[in-house]
Amino acid sequence: MAKAAETPPDTLLDKDTALRLFRMMALIRRFEERTEEQYTRARIGGYCHLAIGEEASTVGAIDALEPGDCLYASYRDHGTALAVGSEPVAVMAELFGKETGVAHGRGGSMHLMDVQRRFFGGWGIVGAHLPIATGTALALSYRDLPNAVLCQFGDGAVETGSFHEALNLAGVWDLPIVFQIINNQYGMGTSVEQSSAEPDLWRRAAAYRMHGERIDGNDVLAVREATARLMGIARRERRPALLETITYRFRGHSVADAGKVYRSAEEIESWRKRDPITRFGLHCSERGLLEQDEIDQVWSDVAAEVKSAIDEALGAAFPDPDTLYEHVYGDSAWREQFSRMRAGAPFGERGEERTWQT
């Protein structure tokens, strides 16, 4: 276990913070609800994983990042992108596959990112981004930078080999990284108890002599406090940690899953009572930090913001198919390198005699 935290627990101190956290969770909730609707209207394709119910685990953790910190996430990443500050319109445009999307329509729902804000991606292969995030922590350490990495992933990812290898590397190399398990209690339809021989996932840290900790992931302040503390230790002492935030997804695994076969209506209902946003709203009003009319105002503001994001994204252009081959390689010599491959080459055939191959 890590030493006791040196900084005092970061509790909610002021109204601005309260408003910021509440507003972001509300924005994500509305964004996700409208995304679901846009999907049923066939404006979004592919897989689409909503994070409704998990807002506190995302927002609390990301709010604790400092400039220069780096972030990794899984494919359940719409809220992640919004929380790092990506423009809602650019995120929605990405879901629509538009050129103005965060990845110019190349990545879609599962692969959002915002490199300028050091959000290095939503990733689609479960567990695979843990070693990558570890490498980013290695780079921070190598360059002697004062920052750390926050790597978020689901409970299912804990069962991959990558999880073990990444945590061991981070431990043995003393890397500045916090691994955050967003434990929503299910992989697709498989519960943590069914898939994990040690369902107290945070205990896995002990195998790497790493600090491990489990907190209520539907309490945005608890998440923020724990993340700030562990990231602080990572930044200052180059010590990794494993943080498990317990939460619940109200929807199915993806929009294709009704989410009902493998869990009971009572279970879903019991978690609705612990809705992270309602709960935080109550917390704030009880302490006189937010008035009811301010809360109402936030909800109508975010609804308007999401609506205008949708409207603007709808009007944006799709990528030009002629740009299909851009960004496969980036070295300035690539055209020259591939120039003699001729027909069947990745690029050579465009505009030549065998145009059908593109």
Binding site: G45, G46, Y47, E94, G97, K98, E99, G101, A103, G105, R106, G107, G108, S109, M110, H111, W123, G124, I125, V126, G127, A128, G156, A157, E159, T160, G161, G187, M188, G189, T190, Q194, S195, S196, V261, Y262, F318, P319, P321, T323, L324, Y325, V328, G344, A345, P346, F347, R354, T355, W356, Q357, T358
Partner: protein, 330 residues
């Protein structure tokens, strides 16, 4: 003869084999309660129980390896990898182990395991979930790779694969699960591995394909037939062992060969076949062997880009017409 979907045909084959042989068991993510990510195994967990329809954590390397070890003991595991993209996590087990064991052990023990996995693109699943990687495996001695393109083959080949004494990578296709077709009533119906099928006869050009691309090829043949051009479509069915003889017989008749596949052409199925056709049919060819594949880019998400990357009918047809024009038929 009964009409079934490709998905139902696979399920029936699994059901029949589970009933026939107590050594057969299924293993994979979400294949029980959740009924399989693509619902192929629906109902089997209820029918055969959690020992024979074994749900796994997200541990591909672990449970493919476990399948190998169980198979070395004489069990017949049928492992489901949710999509072929995730098999890369277990690549070491497949290539360094399943494919090597019989040979390295001097024939003392084999690995009678099937890995079922769907591939294919077209539903905007993007770069990490849209690949057709079967050619990579088909280049490796020690495993067999099959890719049925019809309902009857899905049933007959899965049964054969399960009864086979060697590791078989059984490539399904996401787009095909809902395709319907007729299936023979014969409960003993099986399809041998390593035998291609001429699924449409024609005299002007041989169009070779596997998996879902066979359906595209048949549609191209229909279209071109309206212009009096008769295309012979060969469904490879099996990539390793590869039935080059059936392809060569067809090319000897038509004098032209086009290979279409959804994977990347470079070092792909078409590359392999082109080499064999040039060797087997050198004197019969009226035009160079041609191939069409997926655009050589990581699959983009956006619909217009994805359409530009897929080897759609229009591209196959353009290639076929190009070949015919090159050799004097317009």
């Amino acid at each position: 003869m009964a009409d079934l979907t490709y998905r139902e045909a696979l399920r029936r084959a699994l059901d029949d084999e589970l009933a026939r042989d107590p050594d057969v068991f299924l293993m994979g993510e979400e294949i029980g309660r959740f009924e399989g990510s693509y619902k192929v195994t629906a109902g089997l967990w209820q029918k055969y129980g959690p020992e024979r329809v074994r749900e796994t954590p997200i541990s591909e390397e672990g449970f493919v390896g476990a399948g190998i070890g169980a198979a070395m003991m004489g069990l017949r595991p049928v492992v489901e990898i949710m999509t072929i993209n995730f098999i890369l996590v277990a690549m070491d087990q497949v290539i360094n182990h399943a494919a090597k064991i019989r040979y390295m052990f001097g024939g003392a023990v084999g690995v009678p395991m099937v890995i079922r996995t769907p591939g294919g693109a077209g539903a905007q699943l993007t770069a990490q979930h849209s690949q057709s990687l079967e050619a990579w495996f088909a280049g490796c001695p020690g495993i067999k790779v099959v890719a049925p393109a019809s309902v009857a083959d899905a049933y007959g080949m899965l049964k054969t694969a399960i009864r086979d004494d060697d590791p078989v990578l059984f490539c399904e296709n996401l787009v095909m699960y809902n395709v319907t077709g007729t299936m023979p009533d014969d409960p003993d119906y099986t399809v041998p591995l390593g035998r291609a099928a001429v699924v449409r006869e024609g005299s002007d050009l041989t169009l070779v394909a596997h998996s879902y691309t066979v359906q595209r090829a048949l549609r191209v043949a229909d279209t071109m037939s309206r212009d009096g051009i008769e295309i012979e479509v060969v469904d490879l069915r099996s990539l390793r062992p590869l039935d080059a003889e059936t392809v060569a017989e067809s090319v000897r008749k038509t004098s032209r060969a086009l290979i279409a596949e959804e994977g990347w052409s470079t070092y792909g199925v078409g590359a392999e076949l082109a080499a064999r056709i040039h060797r087997l049919c050198f004197d019969d060819l009226d035009a160079p062997v041609e191939r069409v594949g997926g655009a050589e880019v990581p699959m983009p998400y956006s619909k217009p880009l994805e359409l530009a990357a897929l080897p759609l009918e229009s591209k196959i047809e353009a290639a076929a017409r190009g070949l015919l024009a090159e050799s004097g038929i317009a």
